[in-house]
Each structure stands twice: as C-alpha cells, then as structure tokens.
Amino acid sequence: MKTSELNQVSEPVTTNPVTATAKPMPLNARTIGRLLVVLLLLLILLGTLPGATLDFLGERFQIFVTIFLGIFIEAVPFLLAGSIVSGTLEVFVDRESLTRFIPRRPVPAAFVGSMLGFAFPVCECGVVPVTRRLYQKGLPASVGIAFLLSAPVINPVVLASTYVAFGWGPVLIGRFAFTILIAFAAGLLFHFAPKEEIVLPSVDLAHGDDHVLPAGAAAGRQRLWQSLVVAGDDFMDMVRYLIIGSMLAAAMQTFVPQQTLLAFGSGPVTSVVAMMALGFVLSICSTVDAFLALSFVNTFTTGSILSFLVFGPMVDIKSALMFLGVFRRRVVVYLILLPLAMTFLITVFINLNLGW
C-alpha cells in the first residue's frame, strides 16, 4: 500500500499537470483481482456442498440479490444527481468564485462546511462526488470534511422527514445539533493537516488546473454537454464503490440475523452499540432512515435512536467505500473512527445522565 501511494505521488511529476489528475482510484485491478479469486474459491466451495445446503444457499442468494438491487436502485438516482451537480460545478463555477465565500480562519471555515448542506442538498451518496469536485475547485480539506459528514443530515429534505417521523422534540433537535457538532469538530481537526496528506493526489488541486470554459455564445451548449461528460466520469468512478458497498450491506443483511443485534435493546451502552452497528450495516438513505428508526422507538433507548440517526448517515458500508475515491486510506479510517467515537460518547452520556 505504501509503495502504490508513493507511486501515485511521484508519477505525476514526470508527466504534464493535466494528466496528473488522471491517476486511477485506489480500487485498482489488483484489488478487484483479489475479490474475483475469493469469489472463485467460494464457487468451488459451493460445488462440494450437499444438496440441502445448496437449496438453503440458493434461497439466501435470491434474498441477497433482491436486497442488493433494492439498495442499489434506491441509491443510484442520488449518486447520479450528485454527479450531475459535480459536473455542473466543474464546468460552470471557477475556483476564485468558490473560495471567495469560504472563510480562512479555521473555526468559521469548519462551521461553514458543516452548514454547506443547505447550499447543496445531497444525501450520503450524492455528497461524495460533490465533495471531490469542490476539492478540485480548491475547497480547504477541513471544510470539505465537515461538509461530507454533515450534508447527508443538514439539508431541508432530511429536516422535513425527521420532523414528520418524530415531531418537534429531543430526537429532531439532537440529530441536527449533534451532527453539526461532530462534523464541525472533525473538520476542525483536519484543518491542521496539509491537504495533500488528506485527499488522493488526483483530487488535490495543487496538480490540476481550472477547467472552466471561456464564456461565449457558442460555448453555452458545449458547456452543457461537457458537464454531462464530467458527470459520467464521476458517476462511473463512484458507482463502483456503491456497487461493492451495496453488495457488502446486502450480504450482512442476508447472513447476519437481526435478532443478534436487537437483543441489546434496553442497555444504555449496548443499545447504542447495537444501533450504531445497525446504521453502519443497513446503509439506508439518510432521507428515509428516520422512518426506520421510528420502528425501534419502543424497544430502544432514545440515545441509541439518536446514535443511529447521527452516525448512520455520516458513515455506513457504502459511503465508507465511496470515501476511498476521495481520501487516502488512513484518512478514511479516521473519518470512520472520529464520528464513531464522538457519537458513542454523546449518546451514551444522554442515556446515562439525561434520561430523555
């Protein structure tokens, strides 16, 4: 891993600045090759199993396919929408006009980042290509991270759906307050690292140039087509992570019984652990997760419901995989662990001390 990262950094130096942004994502042929080998071994294993087990696995496979396609079909419109926003940003917005609005000092910058979702209302699938494009347009790393973590919740659509599900109360207020708090804190922490250590070389603007076309009469239609091509690039890049993530989530749902998680319902700590695990595994869209959380209200503690609604949209299987298309692997680990730790502490504190 070390060497491949080094290669990605050193190679662009020898080529021209434009191709420097052309490095493939870390999901390279070798990774996929390994996956295929594992798949092949599984298939061979299947061949040696007795008939009854095969029937069972056949049924499980059907369920797996249905759930996988369910997650994928549900998520893919939002990814395409995010890609089109990204393509539009790429072609129509230049670097100067974007960075002009972002404060330079760390605290206001991270705060603006955690509120940026109101400007770009996207859920956790759409937010990744948009964040990547904003990075290429020169957005500071800390602002992007705050945006990435908060935008799936801090936007009008999710505000509305959470209100419909829970009404005005601790869950609604807590969800929004804690999401902003955690995204802000994570963004602030990353303010102190240089951007090239956070994002992949292909995403770092330092090597790229600004791609906005010159304004002009004939350029209008050309720009529109161009934005669609960029959207297509982004879409094909990110959809691979979405596909792998959806398959993992579907596999977890197919083979891990939910009872094992739900048995922990009422403990102040165990319920939080269970609901955070559930949020991570289920990978459902942030625009509707409030309705699902509603069904756990009777059996689970309020803190754990909050942990599901705060942590799930920030990090789940499919979004964590999509992060790999933007950030260095080490940073992806932090992007999972920081929200995890903060959500856990806050919601366990609520359960133990506030009794909501």
Binding site: N16, V18, T19, T21, A22, P24, L27, N28, A29, I32, L36, E59, Q62, I63, V65, T66, I67, L69, G70, I73, E74, V76, P77, L80, I84, E90, Q136, G208, L213, Q222, W225, Q226, L228, V229, V230, G232, D233, D234, F235, M236, R240, I243, I244, M247, A249, A250, Q253, F255, V256, Q258, Q259, L262, I284, C285, V288, F291, L292, L294, S295, N298
Partner: protein
C-alpha cells in the same frame, strides 16, 4: 482503445435500460417503495443522456481515447475548443472496474426477480400480533379504514396497538392476503399470514403478520400466498395474549403485483 469507450457508453445506457425494464415489467416494486419510481425513471433517462454525451464526445468527434489526446495535447489545444482537457480523465477505468459496473445489470437480467418471502423472514425480527416493529402513526389514521374487510395486515396491527385490549376484536371479520410463515413456535394448526412492510427499499423491510388457526395448516406450503377470511378470537401465542384469526377459509392465490405493504 476506443473499444473501452464503446463499452462505457454501453454500460451507462445498459444500466439506464435495466432500470427502465424493472419499471416496465413491474418488478421495481420488489425493490423500492413506489413513491421512488419517478426517481428511477429520471435516472434511467439521465443515464441514457450521459451515455449520449459520452458517445458524442469520444466517438463522433473522432477522438477515441485520451491517451491519444495526451500525446497530441499541445498540438491540438488551440483548435479543439479546449474540451479535451476540461475534465480529469478519471474515466480511465480498468477492464475489471468496468466488469464491476455491469454487475447490477447482469444480476438483474439473469436472476429471476423475486420479492422477499418467508425464507427472508427467518433472519429478521418477526413481530407477531403484538407488533413491536411497526409503530402506529400519531392521530386517528385508523379511522380512514373503517370497514374491517378492507384492512390489510398492517392496518389490523395498528388497530391492535391502538386498542391495547387484545380481546376487543373478538368476532370481527378479517380478510387479508399474505404469505405463509411458520417456525418452531407454531403449533401444527397455526401459521402466520405475513407481509413485509417497506418504507424506502427492501433494505428496511420489516415483517408483520397475523396468527391464523386453520385445521388444514399442514397442507399449506411455506411461502405460499393465501387469502385468509375469518373472525378474530383472543388466544395465546407463546407468552403473549393476541387476537388470533380463526380462519373460515384459506384460499391459495397469486402474489399481488405489489408484494409489500408500504408505510
């Protein structure tokens, strides 16, 4: 190398067509809540448009691959509207990356679409009669479905929950459709007529069901769709007291076009 672009165009358009085919053959409701259908259709159209933009950019203009552009970059820059270097060439995917892109379409086309059924239920928390996995909406939602014969399984469960007294429904006639589910907890003459409720996509599917008593239960096959008619009678299931549907008739039926109940 233009082969790769052709494949990319094909994959984008193919994914769009795949999404459209799910809508056209009605199996889209096996996967997502119908209120998202319009999003799926828009996405299908959007993917086809993006595929056209791709084809227009890389095939019609005679520029087959950016590798080519990369070499000629400086020569052509002046008279090519500058569009070759207007994006980051991140579409430079490996062949295996492309194969990954085809997975949803391949699985979709070659695996017979089937909604979740009894076999998926064994892996989930089952709410029987008392209903822990569905919470009734606030207010008097229930009054909109006043006629007992029109209530579906979820409506009944809401009613049970609102009433609190399991005996309150004795003698009321029910007429519901669902699939047959049984496990160790069921006596020989009882089964659960079940449905999945979906609020977004099948990832959040939660099973609900009514306990049915029917002497010929052993003749029913698991996962079979049935129409159950009969009155409720309060009874015991495991440790709980629940309304039990004492069936007058259990008739085999075709699965409904929309297999789930949507919240």
């Amino acid at each position: 190398m233009s082969k790769k672009v052709i494949i990319q165009v094909g994959l984008l358009a193919g994914l769009g067509l795949f999404l459209f085919s799910r809508y056209a053959n009605g199996s889209l409701s096996y996967y997502i809540h119908p209120r998202f259908n319009v999003l799926t259709l828009l996405t299908a159209a959007g993917l086809v448009v993006v595929a056209i933009a791709y084809g227009r950019e890389y095939l019609l203009k005679g520029e087959s691959h950016h590798e080519h552009q990369r070499d000629d970059y400086h020569d052509h820059d002046a008279h090519h509207h500058g569009h070759h270097h207007t994006h980051d060439h991140s579409h430079d995917l490996s062949w295996l990356g492309l194969a990954l892109l085809a997975i949803p379409s391949i699985l979709g086309f070659f695996v017979q679409p089937r909604p979740l059924g009894a076999s998926a239920l064994s892996n989930r928390e089952v709410s029987v009669g008392t209903l822990s996995s569905v919470r009734a909406p606030e207010g008097s939602y229930f009054t909109t479905i006043a006629t007992s014969g029109e209530r579906n399984i979820m409506d009944w469960l809401y009613a049970f929950q609102n009433a609190r007294d399991p005996g309150a429904f004795d003698g009321e006639e029910a007429h519901v459709i669902g699939f047959v589910y049984r496990d160790d907890r069921f006596d020989a003459d009882t089964f659960m007529v079940s449905r999945f409720t979906v609020s977004c996509c099948v990832a959040d599917a939660a099973p609900v069901g009514l306990i049915v008593r029917w002497p010929k239960t052993p003749e029913l096959a698991d996962d079979e769709w049935v129409e159950v008619t009969g009155p409720f009678e309060v009874g015991r299931f495991g440790d709980t007291t629940v309304p039990i549907l004492v069936a007058d008739s259990v008739v085999k039926t075709d699965p409904p076009a929309q297999p789930y109940l949507y919240q």
